[in-house]
């Protein structure tokens, strides 16, 4: 027993010495990060799933978002990122069919975790790199991870667009201000593509001045079982105008060929830092579902007011949201169809 304790202690001392020495080279060190989030939401009409956007959808319940764990490692010109998530936000609420669980009797359920990122990158030069694997989508303003968004609930544009794209892409930086990505991708949000590598995509990145970034995104292809070829054109931009004020914008148009509908919309994201630890922001959105034969598409408008109270790694996010639909898509307190709905939520996010 004594020898065992002594051996373990010596191994720990040696390990700490080695690890301390290794951390002197941060660029090559293994990076570990992640987040945890939980929330409470109350629909003012006391109706579950009334505003049916992604995440923060469970009514009058202290609910969980997701546990997110990410690893990154650089080794010379090569690097990899592996990011995995557990919990509703990272699994069935965002990518319900990423990977079905099957046995000899067929499908028995969904996996209890999902890959958020799993890719390998190789920088051939300082300007040219290639990436292959399963990546967070390059389309849109908002993301699955709650640490990457200012608002806790998400926009209609986010919910309608892709979340992840598996594929291979090449990126060339013409200068510090302009770069271009082009690639071949699978269907949206799936680990493997059943109808072959079916999509092409591109992203033009422009950084006109310090603090202003703009991305023009294009993704087109025919998904497995889809009635036509879907094409999305998206503009995502944000500008930190000064230390206090930031303005973001997302606009997108998605069309499915052969008159099979799609959507278009625009969202603006003004944010004001009132104190070093508290920022107040809004999201105003217009979203329209395109008509298909015999069906008229619905229009939505939404206003979300969000606060971010930060203390180190911890962020408290109070939020109130008001939505309107042209076709009475919501329910009032008597469960009668209504054009309006509103909700309040309070989320706690911890990033590490």
């Amino acid at each position: 027993m004594y020898r065992r304790i002594k051996a373990i202690t010596m191994i720990m001392v040696s390990a700490i010495s080695i690890l301390s020495a290794q951390t002197n080279s941060p660029s090559e060190a293994l990076e570990f990060s992640g987040s945890v989030d939980t929330y409470y939401k109350y629909d003012f009409n006391n109706v579950p799933n009334n505003i049916n956007t992604y995440f923060a959808d469970e009514h009058n319940s202290i609910s969980i978002g997701m546990l997110d764990l990410a690893l990154k490692k650089n080794s010379g010109k090569a690097s990899f990122v592996g990011e995995i998530s557990f919990g509703p936000r990272g699994t069935y609420q965002s990518i319900p069919n990423a990977e079905l669980v099957t046995n000899d009797n067929g499908v028995i359920g969904f996996s209890s975790f999902n890959i958020q990122n799993l890719y390998v990158n190789y920088a051939f030069t300082e300007k040219f790199s290639m990436t292959a694997g399963y990546m967070g989508t390059f389309v849109g303003y908002e993301m699955i991870s709650p640490t990457a968004n200012f608002n806790y609930s998400t926009s209609y544009l986010f919910g309608a667009g892709p979340f992840q794209n598996a594929g291979i892409k090449a990126t060339y930086a013409f200068s510090d201000k302009v770069s271009l990505m082009a690639g071949l991708f699978n269907d949206w949000n799936v680990y493997h593509d059943f109808n072959g590598v079916s999509h092409i995509g591109a992203q033009l990145t422009i950084n006109p001045i310090e603090g202003w970034s703009a991305y023009i995104n294009f993704l087109s292809g025919k998904s497995d079982g889809a009635p036509g070829t879907g094409t999305i054109i998206d503009l995502t931009t944000s500008y930190q105008i000064n230390k206090v004020f930031k303005l973001g914008l997302n606009a997108a148009d998605y069309s499915i060929s052969n008159n099979n509908g799609g959507y278009h919309g625009i969202a603006v994201y003004p944010q004001v830092a009132l104190t070093p630890g508290f920022t107040l922001g809004a999201r105003g959105e217009y979203f329209s579902v395109k008509d298909i034969p015999n069906v008229t598409g619905d229009d939505f408008t939404s206003l979300t007011l969000t606060g971010n109270l930060k203390s180190g790694s911890f962020t408290l996010i109070p939020e109130v949201r008001f939505d309107n639909s042209s076709f009475s898509n919501f329910r009032n307190e008597n469960l009668i169809a209504s054009k309006n709905a509103a909700q309040y939520s309070l989320a706690a996010v911890f990033a590490f």
Binding site: T9, E31, G211
Partner: protein, 197 residues
């Protein structure tokens, strides 16, 4: 007893590994700005050698620098640099932000002085691909008030800047005081089968 000693070493290792910054903290100058400042007596080395080595050090460690020689013979160097600040310990860490700074060096008679100041913190955020990148053009001077809620995190940034400035200072002084290193030419590897046998 031996176990107790080993545990003490373990605790010491943990402390020395994670808490060195308290010994290497920055000072405030007359402008109220954080500064790392040192004067070094360099009587043992010729002044021209020191200046040449400083030029080499700046060229190899920074993108560009500015040098100036006054009529009085004083020579000064100035450059901009940045430290990356990590969050967490050992392998459980990731980039948290960067601290930009200005690095000044002056040579006078048989001594030189250098200082790092004008520290500016730029936070990183994790992008959609899992990489940590600068969060827009948001930045804060190290002297700025972070507010009560972020006081501890801000203190860690100041400590990290002090630690990194200390390491840079050590590296700079060592480079200037080192003996010239002669790199021997590479020997051509001998082949097993050749014409000289």
């Amino acid at each position: 007893m031996k176990i107790f000693l080993l545990l003490l070493i373990l605790i010491f290792k943990l402390n020395s590994g994670f808490s060195q910054s308290t010994e290497r903290s920055l000072s405030l100058d007359e402008r109220g700005k954080y500064i790392y400042y040192e004067i070094v007596d360099s009587a043992q080395l010729p002044r021209d050698t020191l200046i040449l080595r400083t030029k080499t050090f700046f060229k190899s460690n920074f993108n560009k620098h500015h040098s100036e020689e006054k009529p009085s013979g004083e020579v000064s160097f100035k450059t901009d640099g940045k430290f990356q600040i990590n969050k967490g310990v050992l392998v459980l860490s990731h980039p948290q932000g960067e601290i930009n700074y200005k690095f000044y060096t002056e040579f006078k008679n048989s001594k030189y002085r250098f200082w790092l100041t004008d520290f500016i913190y730029r936070p990183y955020k994790r992008d959609r691909y899992g990489n940590f990148v600068p969060d827009g053009n948001f930045f804060s001077k190290l002297e700025d008030n972070p507010g009560k809620l972020n006081e501890e995190a801000w203190k860690n940034n100041i400590d990290a800047a002090g630690e990194q400035a200390f390491l840079l200072a050590e590296s700079f002084k060592k480079f200037l005081s080192k003996n010239s290193i002669v790199i021997p030419p590479k020997e051509k590897p001998s082949t097993i089968i050749n014409t000289n046998w």
